[in-house]
Symmetry: C2
Subunit: 256 residues, 2 copies
C-alpha cells in the first residue's frame, strides 16, 4: 500500500468563546478541531469518515498523546499540520502538529482504528478504496512525542473522584460518547484553582471500549508522580461499583 | 450615535466532530460560533470584546431567541450574517442570521449587556469608542423572530429534573459559566429517544444572573404546551433547595 506522506495544512482562528477563563483555547475544542483536520486529511486522500460511512464503516480514535508548550490564546491564528508516516494493510499512520508563529507549540500523535457501524473491528486490514476500513498508528518524527503509552493503574491509591451520567451532548456523529468528551470530563476533575496554577504538559489516553448515552462513567484518579496522575474511566452500574474499562489516561501538569 | 447597519458575513464549515448522533450540528456549537460572529462584527466596528477587555469591560448575552427550520449537517458550508438594526447610547442592536443554500434556516435575535469585569452594569450608556461598554438589544426584521420573551414559570407543575455541579469546562473567557453551556445542559435534560423523535423549533432564553465555577445549578422543567417546556435554572445550595435565578428559558420542539 502506497505511503501517503503529504502534509495537510488547515488554518483556523482561535475564537474567544472557545477559550477558558485564562483566555487559552480549551484542549477539548482544539482536540475536536484536530480530529476534524485528520478527517479532512483522510477525506482528501479518499478514505475519510464520510466515505467510510457510505460503506457503513467509520474510524475511531484508539490512542492519543498530546505534548504542549503553550496553548494558543483567543484571536491567535494557528495552523494544524497533519501527515502520515507509515502504513500497511492493517495500520494507517496519522499524526498531527500545530504551529503558531512558525513554532510547534502542540504536538499530537494519534492512532485510529477502523470499525464497522456496529463498533466491531474488521478481522482483516481494510482501506477505503477497496471497501475496507482502516486502522491508524503513528510513527516517529523529530520533536514529536513518543507513542502513547498508558499503563494500567496500580489501583492501590486510586480513588473514585466522580461519576458522570452521559447525556445527549456527550454523543457524537458516531453514535457513541465522543473521544474528546472523555478528555473534557477528565480535565473537569481538577478545580479552577488547580487549572489557574497548572498547565497540561503531556496527556496520554488509550480508548479501550465505547460507551453510549445513558452509561454511567466512573473516573478513578491515582497520583503517580509530582503533578502527574493516572485516570481510569469505567462504565459502572452504581456509584462505587466496578465496571468495564472504557479508557485510561495519564496526565502530567506543569506549574505555570 | 450613528447606526452601524452593515451586514457582516462569516462563512464556516460544519465539521463532523461538532455534530450530534443525527449528523446535525450541535446547537451549542453553533451558538458559540454565532457569539464569535457577533464578536467579530463588533470588533471590526471598534467595540469588540478584545477592545472592551482592554478597558476591563466585557459584554454578556442578556437574551436570545433562536428559530430554526432545519439544522445544518456535517460538511455543510454555511454563512452567518450578523447586523445591527438600531442603537442608542445605552443599547446596541445585534442580530444574527444563518443561511444555507440561500435559505435562512436558523434565525437568531440577541440582546447583549455591557458589564465591567466585576459583572456590574455601568450606570450610564457606554460605547466602545469613548471608554464605555455597550448594551445590545434587537429590532424587527422580515422573517426574524419576535423579541425573546421568557415568562416566569407558574411553578405548580415544575419539577427539579437535574442538578449540575459546574466545573472548569463550563467557564469561558469571561470567568463565569458560558451562556451556551446553559443551553447544552438544558438540551441534555431530554434523552436520546426524545432527540431522535423531536427537533428544537424555537428556543427563548433570558439570562438573569451569572454563575461561577463550583456553583450547583438546579434545572426545573414545567410542561406548558404540546412538546413545549419552561426551564428555570437556579444556583441552589442543596439537592432540592431553592436559590438565585440564573436564567429561564422556553423551548418548543417539533416532531421530526
Amino acid at each position: 500500500m502506497e505511503l501517503m506522506d503529504k502534509v495537510g495544512r488547515y488554518g483556523f482562528l482561535v475564537e474567544p468563546f472557545h477559550c477558558d477563563f485564562s483566555q487559552r483555547v480549551f484542549i477539548g475544542h482544539l482536540g475536536n478541531n484536530l480530529l476534524n483536520a485528520a478527517d479532512f486529511h483522510s477525506a482528501e486522500r479518499g478514505y475519510g469518515m464520510d466515505h467510510l460511512n457510505s460503506m457503513h464503516r467509520t474510524w475511531v480514535l484508539s490512542r492519543l498523546v498530546m505534548e504542549m508548550d503553550d496553548l494558543p490564546e483567543a484571536y491567535d491564528r494557528i495552523e494544524v499540520e497533519t501527515w502520515v508516516e507509515a502504513s500497511d494493510e492493517v495500520f494507517h499512520q496519522s499524526r498531527l502538529c500545530r504551529d503558531r508563529a512558525a513554532r510547534a507549540c502542540l504536538r499530537i500523535r494519534t492512532e485510529h482504528l477502523g470499525h464497522d457501524r456496529h463498533g466491531h473491528t474488521p478481522a482483516g486490514g481494510h482501506n477505503g478504496g477497496a471497501g475496507r476500513a482502516y486502522i491508524a498508528i503513528c510513527g516517529d518524527g523529530e520533536g514529536m512525542p513518543d507513542s502513547p503509552t498508558v499503563a494500567r493503574q496500580d489501583g492501590r491509591r486510586a480513588r473514585l473522584a466522580r461519576t458522570v451520567d452521559t447525556r445527549y451532548s456527550d454523543v457524537d456523529v458516531n453514535g457513541h460518547v465522543n473521544s474528546v468528551k472523555y478528555i473534557e470530563h477528565i480535565l473537569d476533575l481538577w478545580d479552577m484553582e488547580w487549572h489557574a496554577a497548572h498547565a497540561v504538559q503531556r496527556f496520554d489516553i488509550a480508548y479501550v471500549a465505547e460507551s453510549h448515552c445513558g452509561d454511567k462513567l466512573g473516573f478513578r484518579v491515582e497520583p503517580v508522580g509530582d503533578a502527574e496522575f493516572c485516570v481510569r474511566v469505567t462504565k459502572c452500574s452504581g456509584e462505587s461499583g466496578d465496571g468495564v474499562e472504557v479508557c485510561r489516561c495519564k496526565i502530567k501538569f506543569a506549574k505555570k
